[in-house]
Amino acid sequence: MSRQRRAALVGNPNSGKSALFNALTGARQKIANYPGVTVERKAGRLILPSGAPVELIDLPGSYSFDAASPDEEVTRKVIHGEFPGEVQPEVLVLVLDAANLEQHLVFAQEVIALGRPTVVALNMLDLAERDGLTLDPAALEKALGVAVIPTVAVRRRGLTELSEAIEQAEARVIDASPATPARATTLPERRQTARKVAKAAIVGESAGHRIHAQVDRVLLHPWIGPVILFAILFVMFQAVFAWATPFADGLEAAVTAISDWVIATFPGGFLRDLVTQGVLAGVGSVVVFLPQIVILFAFILVMEASGYMARAAFIMDRMMAGVGLSGKSFIPLLSSFACAIPGIMATRSIADPKDRLTTILIAPLMTCSARLPVYALIIAAVIPQTTVGAGIGLQGLVLFALYVAGIVGAMAAALLLRRTVTQGAASGFIMEMPRYQMPRLRDLAIGLWQRAWIFLRRAGTIIFAATIALWVLLSFPQAEPGESQIDASFAGMVADGVHTVVEPIGFNREMALALVPAMAAREVAVSSLATTYAVDSESEEQTALALEHEVAARWSLPTALAFLAWFVFAPQCLSTIAVARRETNGWKWPAFMVGYLFVLAYVFAGLTYWIAVALGL
């Protein structure tokens, strides 16, 4: 009888669990959520030496079964078979950081004491050696009573041996006598045992050069550290604009070529217009932002994989404490620069509920990658491509300013929220600083591929559907001769309604029209403008210009700036609202979030427009 076999990776945070997971399962991974909670469920397929497949789950890192945060709670429940809808894993693969045995053996004892088939992966052995440690895996195996396999996940060392050990442990499951849990131990007892076992396993300990302590001396320096962090963030935002350009140009040329080919090959008509004006103009205009999104995620992933992200949290803690948050909120907020959804999900590591709620409420103010297409388009259209000072482009500077506006808005919002709706005691900040590591290309590639795929899937589904729906609304009913197609269309009528509301803040009707489908995903604003102008140009017998030229020709500077200001604050993404609802268990907080963000967006777009007009821009 065949059955789905399951194994789970379990261990402390910073044990190199995820790198080991990547090494064991490769790109065959499925990322989903545990039902009911937004803790990421990472699962992949591991092929055992016998050829049998095993579903391998990467459980959230834990310090103890005595859970102090929602993700530790998931780990405890899954391992104990108490998680609804989740089958209890048969084999536990306990991942230990070889260089931090004394710490990791504390939780390890809790896992081993369950009496379940367990294999220990003595991971990151290379880093332990770098720190001057010589370990004896056999002694550790004897002390723990379970198989111990030395591994270096990032160099793929010990993987075959680990698979074999999992297979052997698996085989024991079949004739399994019921698990016999050992007697419960107290934390001080476990710590004492951990110390003893670690001592026995460490056969040599030279002073070693502890690289990370020396690197920390610079990166955590009270004055140099923050300067370096801001320099990195500045380079990140410049890179997003500058490095992506050749790739984006290439993609744009490809989309245009396909469009030309379709026009040349197929007879004119409804279907061809749908493909060129709807699908290619709409989806194509969003896909060209893929390079920028990949570059942004590359920076974030490198910061995480190298161990720098925790240092960034340390440096930011003082500032975050100033608005009633902690350095822990920095990581979700930085992730929100890529997308608010993983950002909001990353708040699960924040133990304090008020802290967590505040972080969720301000996460949409961080400039997510979906806003990047909007910013990029408007900046390219209305901001001249000049340099201010050595090597600093004005366009990059404006982009940086928009990001700063979002951050300042978020901080002000946090300050206000912490004094009103999420009032409570100041939160703590306790965080392990992982050792520095060279990020591995393979892990980065897997991470980037997953993020890029999520973006492309959105382009292929939500954005595709929204674009087609919009094209249909724009194209019907057909205009009378002499009448503009947009004026005549259904979409034009909807836009008229929205336009009355946003006209005072300087928005034109195409912008009003773009705001509606942008609720599905912000970047649809771009594809919506592209489709609108494509339909419009065609009806006026003009050659369609590149979108940025259309915008440059049709929008005044105050209008364009007001549109940018709107997108700094507007909560326009249904997925974010949905994830906030799931995270806060109800509609109360998402409704509050949407309300305050729309008010902010309207007020700031208005202020921008009126001030810009008054200055004669």
Binding site: D66, E102, W223, P226, D317, R318, S427, G428, I430
Partner: protein, 79 residues
């Protein structure tokens, strides 16, 4: 003397911890990390821009960032 008053780099033993003044989750997390009575610790870094908060504490081969309130709850003795 409490941990927050310790000179940077000075090694010390934690004599006692006043858990009552800390939030229960924080207490749980500190204990799980081994920041408890009997631990050998040192302050590695303290604050940014001349501040005193937060600080990083080394314990064994691990470095943990904590707030000053946590360090102030720990009575230590230099070794």
């Amino acid at each position: 003397m409490t941990l927050d008053q310790l000179d940077r780099g000075q090694r010390a033993t934690v004599l006692s911890v006043d858990w009552a003044i800390l939030a229960p989750e924080d207490a749980k997390r500190l204990q799980a990390m081994g920041l408890d009575q009997g631990a050998h610790v040192a302050v590695a870094h303290r604050g940014v821009f001349g501040g005193v908060d937060p600080l990083t504490v080394t314990i064994g081969r691990m470095t943990v960032a904590v707030r000053r309130v946590h360090a102030a709850a720990m009575t230590v003795e230099a070794i």
